[in-house]
Subunit: 423 residues, 2 copies
Amino acid sequence: MKINLLLTGNELMAGDTIDSNSSMIANQFAPLGWRLHKKVTVGDDIKLLCEEIDLLSRDTDVLIINGGLGPTVDDLTADALAKVSGNPLEQHPEALEHLQQWAQQRGYQLNKANLKQSFLPKGSAIIPNATGSAVGINLQHQGCIIIATPGVPSELRPMLSQQIIPFLQSRYASGYIKTVRIGVFGLGESTLQEMFDHAFPDWPETIELGFRASFPVLEVKLTARLAGMDEQLESWKNKVKALLAEHVLGEMPCTMAAACLQQLNDKRSNMVTAESCTGGLIASEITRIPGSSSRFLGGIVSYSNSMKAEVLGVSWKALEQEGAVSEVVAQQMLSGALRVSGADVGIAVTGIAGPDGGTEDKPVGTVWLAWGAADNIKTLCLRLPFERPFFQNMVTALGLDLLRRYLLGVDTLPATASRYKVS
Amino acid sequence: MKINLLLTGNELMAGDTIDSNSSMIANQFAPLGWRLHKKVTVGDDIKLLCEEIDLLSRDTDVLIINGGLGPTVDDLTADALAKVSGNPLEQHPEALEHLQQWAQQRGYQLNKANLKQSFLPKGSAIIPNATGSAVGINLQHQGCIIIATPGVPSELRPMLSQQIIPFLQSRYASGYIKTVRIGVFGLGESTLQEMFDHAFPDWPETIELGFRASFPVLEVKLTARLAGMDEQLESWKNKVKALLAEHVLGEMPCTMAAACLQQLNDKRSNMVTAESCTGGLIASEITRIPGSSSRFLGGIVSYSNSMKAEVLGVSWKALEQEGAVSEVVAQQMLSGALRVSGADVGIAVTGIAGPDGGTEDKPVGTVWLAWGAADNIKTLCLRLPFERPFFQNMVTALGLDLLRRYLLGVDTLPATASRYKVS
């Protein structure tokens, strides 16, 4: 089955919006062995939309259109479909009924803008939308199945899994594909490539190998496209894991926080955070994960010196003599957090995220990390030459990784930490 | 100037990666009045790449290719350019020199995979890369300027601003375009459309009006494409702001946290957070903003009951009798956080993010918010039927907005809060 994708919206061309929908579609299709062949994005321009619908539906089995089904004047998908297919717009009774129910549930009054959403090209079938006002459109044109979907991700997601995939499965068989993704942190892409070249001169042609940097995780992806490859894939997965050892976070999807939580689960330990320059990001990354409450007791975002002293018990003397960004303050932040929370282990970070606040001694990008248990606190000073948000993301990733390695009982540093270590 | 964009990478087709580069390119081009005409994305497939380079370079002035310049075997852009243009790959002395310098600065040894990056189609000019190993490629083909750029965002960004834009400016004049974007929170898109229809029957044709939902902010965008429109645009901007009143966050880019910080600056107040179900996300959103330290004293992520009691002084009696998700606990979390931090105002949230932890009385999605000053604490209970990450994002947005409205001195609720309020 050949699948093309057409995305529409001025916001996608103007850079206002980052498209995550095509990734969602690809991800939902992947387990069935369905791959996107080509993806085209155009603005809300009726002429260009018509051209692309015509072109993309010619050489493909399925064309999925995303966006342009909303109530406003710049939503042109139904109109373009009507023009290209020669089926004029008419009010669709099921679409109207859907709109009425949608409005009733919310205590809304349907307005004229909303009602536009009930007009579809003649001969279309509707695709129910469980959460939004716009129904999807299913229309055959020159032997191609055209499916128009709403641009709102939370509406697209269930429409894909509950409506579109079952419909396409009833038309097209799914192929065999099996993928293993291993999340890695602490090695660069070209180091990885070299390690593979050396360790696996006999890498089999039947397994595609790919690397993908998805900050902060580097993903190693093994893909088999032939049936009966399960065992071979499993065996190569294990070889890869053995080669990369402590740098392996786990199988994807796996975040830095999830890998750290996994170690906490293995060791039946719980943790706490004390954050200054990351401002709650470490805690937030951990608590994104369902069930984190069993291992994460809490955190203190001690942005002001006063909170460092009053809540965490950092000594005013240390703050005044060494400054807030210093080894002793990082250590005291961690011991304070461990004390007030009763946690077994923790992470503390204090640094200068910038763009202001740097000094000659401690320029922007300087950060002290402390991690470990009350009787075994490790520390490290880095100088990370990155802009504020990336600096915060990097410190968060490193903090979580250092605690993960601590729990794992290894003392190697991830490559980034070695590279930017202040000697 | 007509500009097409070709993105390449299996990760973009497989859904592994969300493309933010095209948005970056569009955003850097926008102030010059340069708009992207069409965007095509294909996988690492040499045949498809060659086809699209050929097609997309035919009807355009500029073709920008993004991705496929890396050291690994699936990086095919230089190869495809060589094939399409008929200029064979040869080692480019400047590219080689760049690679050598890049490696030297990092104490790396160049390997064979890296050296591949020095081979470019004959006749190419290189585009320096300040941060990465891959130089960009500038090549003329059938009257079109083809520019190949690296896929790593941090390498693309400076290459665009420092190399590509100045180069294109020297070739093409920039057009007039002026855009005003107003960030709004608390009104739905179709309510907005109706308000505009009613209030502005005389909306001028010379100003394009667009709405864009960029969760959680709704953006109202006014665009003028004719010279000399500055005054008119300014005047309509002010009319729009007056119409939308307290729902206006500010001019974009503006986050919920930035709008709240702006009010804190106006009132010369500082704040604190006490978070349970959002797990540090509110603090993290605030501290993303440079200079937030002058208004944000810190926060407590009191995930465990013990931290609620020990650090914030929430009474064990309240925790046992009313439960952690209750009005009195939200109030006590806020008063505790105000007390330990000495802040003027704050936000506290306690709720059930799910997927587990719900009860019949307090199902997943229940959240108590408390906000205001020690002598004037407001509370609200909502039941938000969203999945964990979206629930956390929504509670964060609402918490920040409720504090913003409090500081502004208005007592209207944003529409989402009214809709999901537990009566």
